[in-house]
């Protein structure tokens, strides 16, 4: 081998330094992340058992369980989705298929951008004034669901709009050339093609809603009994899992231990991991389809 070969590999000191620093930074970030997750699971998982999952906090027996919070979280999330999906998807269809570029459109876009930057406690304040008081819903799951719907509106609209826009434009052209109207094209081609994106939007929104606490404290309140009648439960106040973690530090529900907030946090984190996994699966579906 000729040592003077012009193709010989040379070592650049600056590359080595930068690479080392980058690895170090990534390592620290990973360490912190896994440290937090590990700590929470370590503290919380031992406290999770069937009674913990299936009972309500009881003053009489001084026992603790999160069944009402699980029900409230599912209830409020489903309700919020029912409110936001027609509005959000409809809005996205309008923005991507019907609206003409112009001042009003950029105003709508700008507003949606702003909405996604507002801190959630501000949404809570708005929800308390608007839904709880003005619309007279009281501290209720319904008021909370409306507030959550508002919070995820930008996610739903933007993600759906993006996926509608990314549908092969030649499909629109072909459909147009066959004399079919826009609604038919949207229903038969655009929405099915955009479906993976819409599902991703739903999953992202669910993640956001499950983790929300500040906005719900001011709207759906902090009650933690099991609902008597599920059908009318939307009128009641009810704490979600995330709200309950906050309550563990303020009013300390009966029967809770120091491990309780960690146990709830561990469950929330498992849910979030599961949602991320689902997004990943759907994402793979998009690439394949």
């Amino acid at each position: 081998m000729n040592n003077d070969s012009p193709y010989k590999r040379t070592v650049h000191m600056d590359t080595v330094i930068i690479r080392t620093l980058a690895c170090l930074a990534a390592g620290i970030a990973l360490l912190i992340l896994f440290g937090i997750i590990g700590y929470i699971f370590f503290q919380g998982l031992p406290a999770i058992n069937w009674a913990f999952l299936s009972t309500e906090p009881s003053f009489l027996d001084q026992t603790y369980g999160i069944a009402p919070m699980i029900i409230n979280t599912v209830y409020i999330t489903v309700l919020a989705l029912l409110i936001i999906l027609p509005i959000g998807i409809g809005g996205a269809i309008y923005l991507s298929e019907y609206s003409k570029q112009g001042k009003i459109l950029s105003l709508i876009r700008f507003t949606i951008e702003i909405l996604s930057g507002i801190p959630s406690i501000v949404y809570g304040l708005f929800g308390a004034l608007f839904f709880v008081l003005f619309f007279n819903m009281g501290y209720s799951i319904l008021a909370g669901a409306f507030t959550l719907a508002l919070i995820v509106l930008p996610i739903v609209v933007r993600t759906t709009e993006e996926s509608l826009k990314s549908v092969d434009p030649t499909y629109r052209e072909a459909a147009l050339s066959m004399g079919v109207n826009k609604l038919y094209t949207i229903r038969t081609i655009l929405l099915p093609c955009a479906m993976p994106g819409i599902i991703a939007a739903i999953i992202l929104s669910v993640g956001r809603m499950v983790g929300e606490s500040a906005a719900l404290l001011c709207t759906s309140g902090t009650a933690y009994q099991l609902p008597g009648d599920i059908a009318t439960h939307y009128k009641n106040s009810g704490a979600t899992l995330a709200v309950q973690i906050y309550q563990c530090f303020t009013e300390r529900p009966p029967g809770m231990t120091d491990a309780t907030p960690f146990a709830i946090a561990a469950i929330l984190m498992l849910v979030v991991l599961l949602l991320n996994f689902l997004t990943y699966i759907v994402g793979k579906g998009i690439k394949r389809g």
């Binding site: 570029q101 052209e173 072909a174 459909a175 050339s177 066959m178 004399g179 079919v180 038919y184 038969t188």
Partner: protein
């Protein structure tokens, strides 16, 4: 008999005068080829004929397009109905991401054909017309995207003829295909002429000479020469046409 004609047609994209005073008439059951160098306005002209330019912003169209005796740009005309009668096939095969059957049945379903037996019949007839039936009859429920490029393009032709249009517009419909698929589609076009009127854009001079009855030569938005294909390719009047068809520019 004239089936569609343009009278003093001018089209502007913003400031770009893309079609200049084009007057052309097309005969029923004939194949007309539109030729000319890239950017001369062939696609634009083709899309004027079924109002496909309506969706583009800043387009201004003056003049008349007379189809079946009416000006299709008159204010009381529904462009959807025009497009139903004037089908189009594009350069890139663009079947919908659904089954072969659903692709062909797509427009008939919209236009209120509901009965299964009638749909089946339309699908078979259209696929036969597009010379695709034998190849796909056993896998009508399979995704259209599983077909080869040439088959996909014939499927697009089947999809367009499923509505029994009077005119079929083809915009470089074979330019993305291999020679064998191209010949198949050329044969097919010859066949389609019995029932339809075909107007096709092509960059392939041999194809225009082989397939068409009439040829129109476009240059920079002007329609310079129009006549029998033999005349345009054998003995054109305009020296520019002569230069183009003999391959000296374009």
């Amino acid at each position: 008999m004239t089936i569609i004609e343009t009278k003093n047609l001018n089209l502007h994209y913003g400031d770009n005068h893309a079609l200049i005073n084009v007057s052309l008439s097309f005969m029923k059951n004939e194949i007309t080829a539109l030729i000319g160098p890239s950017g001369c306005g062939k696609s634009t002209f083709l899309r004027v004929l079924n109002r496909m330019n309506d969706i583009i912003k800043d387009v201004r169209i003056d003049g008349e397009v007379i189809f079946d005796g009416v000006n299709i740009y008159a204010p009381d005309i529904d462009p959807m109905r025009i497009r139903k009668n004037i089908g189009m096939v594009f350069q890139k095969p663009n079947p919908f991401p659904m089954s072969i059957y659903d692709n062909v049945a797509y427009a008939p379903r919209y236009h209120k054909v509901k009965k299964r037996a009638v749909l089946d019949e339309i699908v078979e007839k259209s696929l036969r017309k597009a010379a695709l039936w034998e190849e796909v009859k056993d896998r009508l429920k399979k995704s259209a995207l599983s077909l080869s490029g040439g088959q996909q393009q014939r499927l697009c032709i089947a999809r367009a003829v499923a509505l029994e249009p009077e005119i079929l517009l083809l915009d470089e419909a074979t330019s993305a295909l291999d020679p064998i698929s191209t010949f198949k589609i050329e044969d097919l076009i010859q066949d389609l002429k019995k029932t339809y009127t075909v107007i096709m854009v092509t960059h392939n001079m041999q194809q225009a000479a082989r397939v068409s009855n009439k040829t129109a030569f476009f240059l920079l938005g002007d329609m310079l020469e129009f006549g029998d294909t033999e005349k345009i390719f054998g003995n054109p009047v305009n020296p520019k046409t002569q230069e183009y068809v003999s391959g000296r520019f374009g």
